[in-house]
Symmetry: C2
Subunit: 199 residues, 2 copies
């Protein structure tokens, strides 16, 4: 399997193997055309093993989403660096890379986010994850304000814009070329310098 997603490099047990197969089947066929049978083709083991763990396609996809959002949540760095260094790391995470695995991850997340309009389970997971990420970013900014490194009045507001840019980039990665993403990144750095860092 080429273009492996890093968090699936060492699938740990049957659940992760099924989730990995689901991720690649989703990427290949899209949500609308995805079936347990197509996931079984990627899985390479008995399809009945999938039904042993999941009743249907959406139960499996919601578990995949839960798993993927945990990966995103774990990307938020823990506080063992200076606030300026954290913000650099967060900005890098927001913009990711143009590698196939980052683009495929973004595409899958946006495809599942669109389902949140029709399905409470997807909606609930995205609300939980979005809130978590916003609060983590706000915490880093607040630490920077306390340390005198950042000049921000309301860290929650600043974190909210960071999160919107994260989601916007995920959606734009589907169609935008790297030059455009680089433009956004350059302007966002200008915003960080002028609106976050103390003079």
């Amino acid at each position: 399997m080429t273009n492996e997603i890093s968090f699936f490099q060492n699938p740990d047990g049957t659940r992760e193997e099924i989730l990995e197969a689901t991720f690649y089947a989703l990427r290949q066929h899209g949500y609308a055309d995805l079936t347990i049978s197509k996931i079984g083709d990627e899985f390479g083991k008995s399809q009945s093993l999938i039904y042993h763990h999941y009743d249907n396609k959406d139960e499996l996809l919601v578990d995949l989403l839960d798993y993927m959002l945990e990966q995103v949540e774990n990307q938020v760095p823990l506080p063992n660096q200076s606030p300026e260094e954290y913000i650099e790391i967060i900005v890098d995470e927001i913009f990711g890379t143009s590698s196939n695995s980052d683009v495929e991850f973004s595409q899958a997340v946006i495809e599942l986010r669109a389902q949140a309009a029709h399905d409470d389970d997807y909606n609930r997971l995205f609300r939980r994850s979005d809130d978590f990420i916003r609060k983590q970013i706000a915490r880093v900014i607040r630490a920077g304000v306390d340390a005198g490194a950042f000049d921000v009045e309301d860290p929650s507001q600043t974190a909210a814009l960071f999160h919107t840019v994260l989601v916007g980039i995920q959606a734009e990665r589907i169609t935008s070329d790297e030059e455009t993403i680089d433009d956004v990144r350059a302007e966002f750095r200008r915003y960080v310098e002028n609106c976050l860092l103390s003079e």
Copy 2:
């Protein structure tokens, strides 16, 4: 029909009537569960009339997307106001309102944007529309720089961030409460004041 989308208030001819029915059927059932039969239920006229205009569901949805993106493109104001006034209008358009029609429009656009990962027609339309909107915003910013109202080095970069925030808000509207959107808007206004307007 309640919660009417403004651009469908006076559907002009059969094409717009079919597109309106498609929009509401998409909102109700989602892309994956949408069928010509369900569109026919919304349409209220003979289903064969739909097949007279479109060969299949995706041909119809691509035409709907084309039509919707034209509406977005037409929202970009023409230059008959001061640069500061334009930017205010653009910011208002980016954040829209929490009305059902704005939320439903955003949901439909994100659902179709997710299809761009699998389908060249959707991909091509979004690329065209995204480029158009970015260029229009850049033009407004450039006019502001020329008039001495804005202090921006690269209007294209600034426009690229504006567009990312537009797309991010469309995606976040599916799950975020109004308070969060208000936080993003407040921070984005802070960015405009500190990073665009001349001192």
